[in-house]
């Protein structure tokens, strides 16, 4: 009696009643208990994805404010974007390419190539930030400051927030450079390089988005 009851137990709270599910939290049901290999790598990827969702929400909020504010009042004076911005964009695209090459070289175990591309990426990243700084100076020389008009406010807000986030990525890159310098950058560290690369590409895409926003909806 009890036997049948156990076997034919209706769905009890929490899904499929008793018995083993073939795949619960982790992959292979045949392995022992405990987190399977690769879990740390997966958490880093998930964590980075979620961080990018959060950053996206920040910029979505700024964007909605941008459109709402742009449609209000008569004080919106479009600012001419400094041409330097396009050069900066080029530098950033180049760094996106080099970080991809870094990642691939690391995966193939090509140490010297990896180091070269890595160093170049960090340099290009720093170059982009320097370029942004110069662009802000150019605008300031033309008498356009943060509070000059709403258009300039959003210009500084969006480029500034992007620059702060990119600076965070640069710090991660410098940490990787430091690890490489101490001969501690091997395939074991590839997760770190991978998530940094994802972040870096995202910053690249975000910059395109901001440029489009500032250019088309002046």
């Amino acid at each position: 009696m009890a036997e049948t009851v156990l076997k034919q137990r209706p769905q009890v709270a929490g899904g499929r009643g008793g018995g083993d599910v073939t795949d619960g939290g982790f992959g292979d049901p045949g392995r022992g208990s405990g987190p399977p290999p690769g879990t740390a790598r997966r958490t880093y990827h998930t964590g980075m994805f979620l961080a990018l969702v959060g950053i996206s929400m920040l910029f979505i909020a700024f964007t909605s404010a941008y459109f709402v504010r742009g449609g209000l009042g008569d004080d919106w004076v479009p600012i001419g974007l400094p041409p330097l911005l396009w050069w900066n964009a080029g530098v950033l695209f180049a760094s996106s390419v080099t970080i991809e090459l870094t990642r691939r070289a690391l995966n193939q175990g090509l140490r010297s190539q990896c180091n070269a591309w890595l160093g170049l990426t960090a340099l290009l990243g720093a170059g982009f930030l320097a370029g942004q700084l110069a662009a802000w100076r150019q605008l300031a020389d033309r008498g356009i400051y943060l509070a000059t008009n709403p258009s300039s406010s959003f210009f500084y807000l969006l480029t500034g927030t992007h620059a702060i986030h990119l600076f965070g990525g640069l710090l991660a890159l410098l940490y990787i450079v430091w690890e490489a310098w101490r001969y501690r950058l091997g395939p074991a560290k590839r997760t770190l390089v991978e998530v940094t690369a994802i972040y870096w590409h995202f910053m690249d895409g975000l910059w395109i988005y901001i440029l489009v926003l500032l250019w088309y909806w002046r």
Partner: protein, 584 residues
């Protein structure tokens, strides 16, 4: 970058006091740290509400800390602001999610720690810094801000000219909220990653305890909403400090001075703020729903009624929560068509809420209920959630809201449904997990005395507010004695204030019980409540890595109580079918 608690055994158990209890990366310690932060904050918030009640009931008296003579209306507004801010952020968002979630989530899903322990520690310290900053607002020149917990511009954006406290005090308020947002974002990222990637073998999503589902949904809400609050805070800070005009309209006159800004829109802030603010009320209440489900099932000795429906209702409440922010703005002059859309969506939230309530009652129905203290608090949660929730459909209709919005009716509504209901969820969670956290039981008698006084107390405080609200008593006003039609309501204020004083005094019973039990409570066994989830399979308190290196394997859902034909009336999630002892 922090290092992940993944494949290799987590970080080793720290030895020194500072690494073990202060700058700890252990999720259990961090959870308790958050809990104590909330406890501190709740007493600050309660003290503020006490002064508000004193002012309202006895308008002509003088009170300590507020000088000779009646308390100024500005001082009253700063109490309103700080009470709201401290309670919403540092209590309702801190304890249910970051406190209990940090403590119990990794154990309940069979993980050794959160996915990113270092990030977890950072979340706490950033949040704590935010708390210090908001407390500092009391101490600076001009005192605490008077702009309300919603910080509406232009009042919050133009600086000192808008009133005492709108200078440095308001700036500190924004900085504190921004810090809190950053801490919450880091925390939510950790919660989601942990839930997705660190579940132990056999712990499928649909076998997670409803607490874990609640924390998971809440974390998603936090990730999506706090980033928007952060954006709004940055814009407001720029308006205040660097002369931009995002929120400040042109030609604004304050104290006979024209403010030098132009073209901004205070409504823009309201939209950004409430896009965060509405999910925020679910961030406060959803973890309490999880705890309540867990406790009702455990002490009714019955499986939760409709597990799947409960999960879908949680997700539904979370998703709808992002579409209804406009119902906080019906009186802002929005288009009646938008108001109607927001209204319909708002009323739709009644559906998942009713599903939850129905299932809670269904869980208790016909159960052999054990009326322990956590069970009482959980039933109290259901009661308060229903009482507070029922006034929601009134306020969700623009036509009614236009009248009720600025009255005490709203104060009654949100205090019952997201304030004290969530607080009852915290009481329930505290008593329920206390044995696991500290290895001792809390005193049942003191717990029950505290429950009954608090339960009747909060009803005595907030029920009358519905009536004075319908009678047209405006909220946020310090001074009502000059208005004829309000004079007749003064005795109600006195009644509410006396009820509040008794209820606040009764909270000392809880605190005494807590600290007394910490030292002298009866020793707790591994599983004192005879519950089924994973935290009850490990010693109380659990070792540093929760499972002592032996990762659990999960064989069944979380609520297998009173299974027919089985000897014991509960089956642990880790018990395989072959080990289930059958009834003779």
């Amino acid at each position: 970058m922090s290092h992940a608690a993944g494949a290799h055994a987590v970080h080793h158990a720290p030895q020194g006091f500072i690494r073990k209890y202060i700058f700890s990366m252990d999720h259990k310690v961090i959870g308790i740290q958050y809990w104590f932060l909330a406890l501190t904050a709740v007493f600050v918030g309660m003290a503020l509400s006490l002064f508000m009640r004193l002012r309202l009931a006895w308008p002509t008296e003088s009170f300590p800390f507020f000088g000779e003579g009646p308390m100024t209306p500005e001082a009253y507004l700063s109490l309103v602001t700080m009470h709201g801010t401290i309670m919403v952020f540092f209590v309702l968002t801190t304890a249910p999610q970051a406190g209990f979630g940090n403590y119990a989530l990794p154990i309940q899903i069979g993980a050794a720690d959160m996915a990113f322990p270092f990030l977890n520690m950072m979340s706490f310290w950033v949040t704590l810094t935010g708390f210090f900053v908001i407390i500092a607002a009391f101490l600076v020149e001009g005192g605490a801000p008077i702009g309300g917990w919603t910080g509406y511009p232009p009042l919050s954006a133009v600086g000192e000219i808008a009133g005492p406290g709108q200078g440095l005090g308001q700036t500190l308020w924004i900085v504190s909220i921004a810090l809190f947002a950053v801490g919450s974002l880091l925390g939510s990222l950790n919660f989601i990653t942990t839930t997705l990637d660190l579940r132990t073998k056999g712990m499928s999503l649909m076998r997670m305890p409803l607490t874990c589902w609640a924390w998971f949904v809440t974390a998603i809400l936090m990730l999506l909403s706090f980033a928007v609050l952060l954006a709004a805070g940055i814009l407001l800070l720029l308006d205040r400090e660097l002369g931009t005009s995002f929120f400040i309209p042109a030609g604004l006159v304050f104290s006979e001075q024209v403010i030098d800004h132009r073209g901004g829109s205070p409504l823009l802030w309201q939209h950004l703020f409430w896009f965060f603010g509405h999910p925020e009320v679910y961030i406060a209440i959803v973890p309490g729903m999880g705890v309540t489900s867990q406790i009702l099932s455990t002490f009714a000795r019955k499986p939760i009624f409709g597990y799947r429906a409960m999960v879908f209702a949680l997700v539904g409440i979370g998703a709808l929560g992002f579409l209804v922010w406009g119902h906080h703005m019906f009186i802002s002059g929005m288009s009646p068509y938008s108001a109607m859309v927001f209204s319909v969506l708002t009323l739709a939230i009644g559906v998942p809420s009713a599903i939850k309530t129905f299932n809670w009652i269904g869980t208790m129905w016909g159960g052999q209920i054990r009326f322990t203290t956590p069970m009482l608090y959980a039933i109290g949660f259901v009661s308060l959630f229903v009482s507070g929730g029922l006034s929601g459909p009134f306020l969700g209709q623009p036509a009614l809201d236009l009248y009720l919005h600025d009255t005490y009716f709203v104060v009654a509504h949100f205090h019952l449904v997201m304030g004290v209901a969530a607080i009852f969820g915290m009481f329930a969670g505290t008593v329920y997990w206390f044995p696991k956290m500290f290895g001792r039981m809390m005193n049942e008698t003191l717990g029950k005395v505290h429950f009954w006084i608090t339960f009747f107390g909060v009803y005595a405080i907030f029920m009358p507010m519905h009536y004075i609200g319908i009678a047209g008593h405006p909220r946020r006003y310090a001074e009502t004695s000059g208005v004829d039609y309000l004079a007749s309501m003064q005795p109600v204020h006195e009644f509410i204030s006396i009820a509040a004083m008794i209820t606040i005094a009764a909270q000392l019973i809880f605190v005494i019980n807590f600290f007394w039990s910490l030292k002298k409570g009866e020793k707790a066994s591994e599983n004192p409540w005879e519950a089924t989830t994973l935290e009850w399979t490990v010693p109380s308190p659990p070792p540093h890595d929760n499972f002592g290196g032996n990762y659990p394997v999960v064989h069944r859902g979380p609520y297998e109580y009173s299974v027919p034909g089985v000897a014991q009336d509960y089956i642990l999630q880790t018990t395989p079918d072959s080990a289930v002892v059958k009834a003779k």
